[in-house]
Symmetry: C2
Subunit: 356 residues, 2 copies
């Protein structure tokens, strides 16, 4: 999809889809440069257009925008954190979009305000492979209690993850109490999403006996629930079999620190069968982890994790983007491959150059 | 165990245990400061005392020693790499030492020269929890074709891993063709060892139905073979059952890049039953990965991994050890916990201070 097509479909800044925004609100925030204070006021009043403009600042690479974004985030922080953050992953084809559409509609029917975000570092290349094609969430996108934002783009997962994590804060300050964060079942993006959510949900399909084969390294271990999607029609029996298989597989993993035993359920985003069960499972989890104080402990740890992670990433970026270092690194990589120098001696050479 | 006791038992610099070293060799290398060239010559001639002295340099924290160590390693590099590197892990109590004794003796009986190293970052605290108590490898330590060296000590896993990886180079240049690297079944040390060996072996015990419970995150996935130890006496039946269980569990994981399907075998370090099978499995693995060129590809990747890993670790150490940064970091950690500042804004503050 072409980026401009994505933007047109985005629907966020398109008044015809945002039924909750009055004409005056739209005019106010469609101005080229709303001030930080205007954005803050708008967000705290629940204005989705102000929210979108602020997220655009967070996603910007301009230092001036970054400074403004930080000001907005700082003011939003005391109003954030009152939410449930759910990560949703699954390989392509598992039906993530239809599941989120059905699940999101169910949540808004309970009176919840639902924000749907995505972490997809590949989106800058593919122009939004997840949450890009909004037609797959046709109904949810029109729901005034839902807000859908495609993945930030960026060169690195770290950059995309930072933007998403700050976006969570803005959404929460804007009154969204349930944050769903979708990710692709590829690479390290699950780990990044896992470290910014309270509950991690793995969406799977029933398959032949080998349905566990395709599950990526460690992802099953992160899951607080496995939901077998497309449990409808001819598929129901296979879905139940898969449920037994997954339950057995989950027993192979050690007890979680949360004290929670991961659950396996089946659902159909087509018939809505089992969609309520998913929310009940999440509610049970929150009850348990709020009672045993794991919930707030995990959030504190996640904050600290992101502080250190951001520092470490920037330290590396500063080193590896240094022009002299890049030349020297290329030379030393070759020397290491040819066994002319040990990896450690080569590292030492490079570090001496850098710190001098 | 007291450090001096460890040193006395070490046996490496104790002439009475090194039957292969002539008195003149011992005298030559017991001198306080053999030159780098003397060490190189000694190592290339297969002298274990020169090897031990060079490893001591590698393990030193003195800059002068480090420079000398680098000189020795550089000269050894063209003579290294002609070996088989096997990582061996398993939780305490699984019988790693008795297994390595039996396995090492079997290998020397085949005419192999076996070096046994260890990666145990806790050893600086516990004064050598693995490979420290040499009485458990009584026979192997006296074998002239074996060389045993306890884990380097160090504050960080990264430091211990670096030392071990350079020690591998020295051992190979000294003529050791089979390098066994033991590690404890704890934390990140498996990952470090996995990234320096060709073949990774997980030692396990048969147990009740829940024997898979205790297996650490990701370790089973790294294993090229699972060996169920203590398959003797009353235990044989349970060991066979465990073998079936582990075989089933291994099917849950995706295909390895090596094209190798991990094997499960049983053995007894007491009766020597199954010890030869372990080596046969490893031999099969080497045949396959040399035919499909995965073997050399993996070694090249490991070299590059260690180059980058060493750089990244040093960049972090330089930042976090900076006195001003330490104070500022403590302040910002608290502010982040209290939601006064976002983790990203705090990171930015710290980085600005550091790079200024």
């Amino acid at each position: 999809m072409h980026p401009s097509a994505l933007h047109e479909k985005d629907g966020i800044e398109q008044p015809e889809i945002i039924s909750s925004a009055s004409v005056s609100q739209i005019q106010q925030f469609r101005r080229k440069q709303p001030s930080a204070q205007q954005l803050i006021d708008g967000i705290l009043k629940g204005n989705k257009i102000a929210l979108s403009r602020a997220i655009t600042l967070v996603e910007s690479t301009s230092p001036a925008h970054l400074e403004k974004a930080n000001e907005v985030i700082k003011a939003c922080l005391p109003h954030a954190n009152q939410s449930v953050r759910v990560g949703i992953t699954g390989v392509p084809g598992v039906g993530k979009s239809t599941f989120i559409e059905a699940f999101g509609k169910y949540l808004t029917s309970l009176g919840k305000k639902v924000a749907v975000l995505a972490v997809d570092p590949s989106s800058s290349l593919s122009h939004g492979s997840i949450l890009g094609d909004k037609t797959r969430m046709e109904e949810l996108v029109k729901d005034e209690n839902a807000y859908i934002r495609p993945s930030a783009s960026g060169e690195s997962l770290g950059g995309v993850a930072r933007k998403t994590r700050e976006t969570i804060i803005l959404c929460e300050a804007c009154g969204f109490d349930t944050i769903l964060i979708e990710t692709v079942g590829v690479g390290q993006s699950e780990t990044a999403v896992h470290s910014m959510v309270d509950f991690f949900l793995l969406l799977n399909l029933a398959g032949a006996g080998d349905e566990l084969q395709g599950i990526k390294r460690g992802i099953m271990e992160m899951a607080d629930a496995i939901v077998i999607n497309k449990a409808d029609g001819d598929n129901i029996k296979r879905a139940r079999l898969a449920k037994t298989e997954y339950n057995r597989a989950l027993h192979l993993f050690p007890m979680k620190n949360s004290g929670w035993s991961p659950k396996v359920t089946t659902c159909s985003a087509l018939t809505n069968e089992g969609i309520a069960d998913v929310w009940d499972t999440i509610t049970d989890y929150f009850q348990l982890t709020q009672d045993n104080d794991y919930f707030s402990k995990k959030r504190r740890e996640q904050n600290q994790y992101w502080l250190l992670e951001t520092i470490n990433e920037q330290l590396k970026r500063n080193f590896y983007n240094h022009p002299d270092i890049q030349i020297l690194l290329d030379e030393n990589k070759k020397a290491v491959q040819n066994n002319e120098i040990s990896p450690f001696a080569a590292a030492q050479l490079l570090l001496e150059k850098y710190f001098k």
